[in-house]
């Protein structure tokens, strides 16, 4: 990891603090997919310290919306493909070409 790289947890923590929110306040606003309420402060704390990863694209989109961080950026930090791209991965050559393009852009 380079000195300038940022983890998913660090990005969430930094954006939360910039908004003046406590972990408890942010956790209360992030709703679980199963409609069973909000995530727990413990879970958010583990995510912020990179002990756990967000369990679904739904959670990543929640963080994106609440913290105003681009969704694609958070998916990249989480090491996941956005849900809408997963259905487009049937052609290996196109996936490889897409990653080459992605890599080239990042290295520029």
């Amino acid at each position: 990891m380079s000195a300038e790289s940022v983890t998913f947890g660090q990005a969430i923590s930094k954006a939360r603090k910039a908004l003046g929110l406590s972990q408890k306040e942010l956790a209360a606003r992030v709703m679980k997919e199963e409609d069973t309420g909000a995530i727990s402060p413990q879970y958010l704390n583990d995510i912020e310290h990179d002990r756990r990863s967000p369990s679904s694209g739904h959670l990543i989109r929640q963080f994106s919306g609440i913290l105003n961080i681009p969704e694609d950026y958070l998916f990249a930090l989480a090491g996941r493909l956005p849900d809408d791209l997963r259905t487009d991965t049937s052609d290996p050559d196109r996936v490889v070409a897409a990653f080459m393009s992605f890599r080239r852009t990042l290295k520029e």
Partner: protein, 175 residues
Amino acid sequence: MVKMIPDNTGRFAKRPFFTEKELDGDCERLIRELLLKRHGKVEYPVLTDDLTVLIENHDAELDCYADLRAYGDDVEGVTEFFPEKGPKVSISEHISGDDRRENRYRTTLTHEFGHVKFHGPLWAEKFATGDLLDRRPHANKAVSKRDNILNAPHHHSINDLVEFLAGTSRDALVR
């Protein structure tokens, strides 16, 4: 101007000398500013949630649900200081994750805040002057056990001002 006196613990060349009145005043001001900013009014007792934000507002990373068993079974808080970044405060998940231990959680948060606020500048100076030769495993850490949180001395003539300051600021913040 803070009065500096020799540090008998050997941890620092000199340490600041505060009276309890000075510490009370500092803590009162800090908490008023925080509450006004977050809630638009000053109301006691301070919420536990506000105490976590108070720590984070002082450039500290806060891990509220840490596994501190490596430091010993009775350790409830640890504050680590680093040359290149702000301090890291870790609170044992055994007290933060248990509603029945809310008061212990609060006193530990404020105790560790005392380390961040009042000892951070000492560590910054120590690092800035290249005083990095102390290689003991926990040399850059304030490890807080339950007993030294509750019994932090309340008299300024004690040898280890570290615990004194942390204990006094704790009382001023959570009353």
